[in-house]
């Protein structure tokens, strides 16, 4: 499904006039409609790679900010063209740096905030406020506003109208625009901030926008792993509701592993795990760390030691409740055509063995649809009960992931994520909040 444009051409107004304009727009006398009674979504949407690809003529405009197929293809093409390693993630910072140093003066219309992904518009957001920083450092603040009614392709009559507000400008001028937010966010509705960007970017803006009362959506697959985990645990620790898209994508792995142990006769084996291997794409270990942390938390293991070995392999030692040690190894694998999300898990192996039990040792291998699990299958599996499952690839766009999250979240941090994040950070030896 293609994204939808606002029905109304956005009106450019001075920032100070926007709250009053919207108030009038929704007053009973104007439309007889007070708008959707749902939620407000703030989106920090720099779309830096898209802007650079368009500036350098590698992608046709307009700038829309969504993770469309053409954008990913153009970014992958840039990786090859600029002799970057084939395993470079298409939206990686190195792609951005190589584009920034390329020449180009192509201009295009900037329609960020005006294209709403169908998956998100189907949830009838009351107000979408998009912050659209420009790559130019001298772009004054522009503010646009438009009423918005989702056009439902399936004729669902339940859609309700909302509005979009766009704040566009360079980073400095955007900071000035944050002042109008308090007047734009109805107190009775929950508001979400989706940081649709690398977590290393624009820390000042992040701090301004991600106040504790707002539900935060981040992607810990984007940014320095240590920064990502530190930000995640700091925010969770402060009591903010944090939703991580990287954690959301882990769901099919958690579900498949849980499924393996649903039959009651296999559950005893969970108490006898002696080894866990996780292979992940590229060099971003956060998803793998979160998976290892979740398993260890659910099985009550204690982290005893961890270290980083050659080639960015992470090794950790946990102690089970019965005192037996569990070896955990997270191995980064370079892949030729990396997923659109960095650090996706490629495969995992769990070995359960008990000296006391007469049961055969059990080896569970999960592999992603596109992954190879030969490495995990090697090494003495013949004497074990082997259980293998294939985990579907998570290739949804971020917009789809956000829509899934908005439609299923309770607006609080998942207790499982809250319990797993500190363990993941500890394995990576992050600084923990006191």
């Amino acid at each position: 499904m293609s994204p939808q444009l606002t029905l109304q051409t956005p009106l450019q107004l001075p920032p100070a006039e926007i709250p009053l304009y919207l108030e009038q727009l929704w007053s009973q006398s104007q439309l007889g409609n007070t708008g959707a009674n749902t939620f407000c979504l703030l989106i920090w949407q720099p779309a830096l790679i898209e802007q650079e690809l368009i500036r350098t003529g590698k992608l046709a405009g307009p700038i829309i900010g969504n993770q469309r197929k053409e954008l990913i293809e153009a970014a992958r093409h840039t990786v090859l063209e600029n002799d970057l390693p084939h395993c470079t993630h298409p939206l990686d910072k190195t792609v951005l740096s190589s584009l920034s140093s390329s020449k180009g003066i192509h201009n295009s219309e900037d329609l960020r905030g005006q294209y709403v992904d169908v998956a998100i518009s189907a949830l009838n957001p009351r107000r979408l406020i998009t912050f659209a920083p420009t790559i130019s450092n001298s772009h004054p603040l522009e503010t646009l506003v438009a009423a918005y009614c989702p056009l439902n392709e399936e004729g669902n009559k339940n859609s309700a109208c909302g509005d979009v507000v766009v704040l566009r400008g360079d980073q400095k001028s955007l900071l000035k625009g944050f002042g109008i937010l308090t007047k734009l966010l109805p107190k009775e509705l929950p508001s979400w901030l989706w940081w649709n960007s690398n977590l290393d970017d624009a820390p000042e803006s992040l701090n301004h926008l991600a106040i504790k009362e707002r539900r935060l959506i981040i992607d810990t697959a984007l940014g320095q792993p240590i920064n990502c985990l530190e930000l995640l645990i700091t925010r969770i620790h402060s009591g903010q509701a944090v939703n991580d898209l990287n954690w959301l994508r882990l769901r099919s792995w958690r579900e498949t592993l849980a499924m393996v142990f649903d039959p009651p006769h296999r559950r005893q084996a969970l108490q006898n795990v002696i080894r866990l291997d996780i292979d992940f794409e590229g060099d971003h270990p956060v998803q793998a760390l979160l998976l290892a942390a979740w398993i260890s938390n659910r099985l009550n293991w204690n982290l005893e030691a961890s270290n980083k070995k050659e080639g960015n392999t992470i090794q950790a030692k946990f102690k089970r409740p019965d005192g037996v040690f569990v070896e955990v190894i997270l191995i980064p694998l370079p892949v030729g055509n990396p997923s659109i999300h960095p650090g996706q898990i490629v495969g995992m192996r769990l070995i359960c063995k008990s000296n006391k039990s007469s049961h055969k040792p059990m080896c569970v291998i999960l592999a992603s649809e596109s992954g190879e699990c030969m490495r995990l299958e090697a090494g003495g599996m013949a004497s074990m009960e082997l259980l293998e499952e294939v985990v579907p690839n998570q290739q949804n766009s971020v917009e789809m992931d956000v829509a899934r999250l908005l439609s299923s979240s309770r607006g609080t941090t998942s207790p499982l994520l809250a319990a797993s994040a500190p363990i993941a950070a500890k394995i990576l030896d992050c600084e923990m909040p006191s």
Binding site: E154, E188, A258, R267, I295, L416
Partner: protein
Amino acid sequence: MSNPTTNPLRVGLRQERVISPQCLVIFGASGDLTHRKLIPALFQLFKQRRLPSEFAVIGCARRKWDDNEFRQKMENALSKDSKEDQNLLKDFLKLLFYQSVDLQDPEGVINLATRLEELDRIKATHSNKTFYLSISPSFYGPACNALREAGLLSDIKRSRLVIEKPFGRDYSSAQILNQLVQSCCQESQVFRIDHYLGKETVQNILVMRFANAIFEPIWNRNYISSIQITAAETVGVEERAGYYESSGALRDMVQNHLTQMLAITTMEPPGHFDPEAIRNEKAKVLQAARLADEIKPWNCCIRGQYSKGGTQNQPLLGYQEEPGVNPDSTTETYVATKLFIDNWRWQGVPFYLRTGKRLAKRLSEVVLTFREAPVHLFDAAGGSPTSNQLILRIQPNEGADFRFEVKSPGSGMRSRPVEMEFSYEESFGEPSDEGYVRLLADAMLGDPTLFTRSDEVEAAWRLYTPILELIEDSPWQLPLYPYESRTWGPAEADALLAKDELLWRRP
């Protein structure tokens, strides 16, 4: 973790839809259903963290209780099963409130509206309200009118009405009730409960049929020779004599639960998984269903009533001896009936429905019997080859069996039947939620998929109208056959199938 009966990796994984902030108003809060089913179901949702923090339950009844008294009663009801959850229970009880309301007194409903406004402010429930009518059916009309007059149903998007069974006593009373309800609110606001639809295994019929490519091509008259739907209970009338005397097995079980199972088993595939698409298909198939002999219903319907039984040590009373039952009662406790569905998919396939109290076993199941192989190449170890059967076990021992012929080991080529079994217990290991947990959540989510629409209810009543009219006008034509308690019903029910050279499945 020390208890391997739960899967530690499964905890917190279920991705449930989020119930929006709201106030649930239960009319009939002092009644049996509230403390036996509704409040435990809400507590279950609370434990699963599926209730929003902006949530309140207002119990309403005529009794002059206050919030604390209501909470105390509900705590007593819940404490029996939730000793380990005392802290959770305390938190849950804080969500409960009570308002004394006499539905025939307009002032009482106005007071309720004021209380709702007050709780809406305190609990930030966004004016979302779900009204649950757990009251005597004779009060459905007054309750709807009172709610309409107080303006509590006027917001189509923010107010919903849940109505318990029975929805009417026959086709015409169901029509009148539908008209009355629809004069008070929109059909989209109405959620008519049939708790069988809340059962995981009933919903699984849809998934089995429409998520697997192997079943649907053979799910028709070309491959299926007959279908049996059974809901058997071992218990008698228990404390429900007052209701049951005026209802009987046909109204209590067949018109709703068995007919809903029939609809789900026989409906066409919907274009997409959408409440209206599913309900359209269910309504269509029920409209195409008819009694096997509408002119002479006694040819396709057997009524029975349980008599004494049991053992010397544990004798069981007959229905007419039960407390609260008229000693000359002619209420049926058993019904077996034969139906046809006049559409392309099912033309000519007989459907046999049976239900009864005090039968030999407690079970609900749907049994699809397939046509025999056109040529018998092999001798059957049992004399003749058995037809393939797919048995969908609704309760207990939830799951499915497929019966087919295999080569009997040995030097010859003889066939014998075997069963391939899927068991919820073995595959998932954890009990499913009670039907009310699912249905209450769905009603509060505004998802009507598992609720019956007005046209479905009417079609279901119309289907049995010839029998109901006969019972009313000339009951001697549809005699009541006695059957011994803890047997499989009257012999006449066996004869109903014997005419078609079939047997009831005896599980």
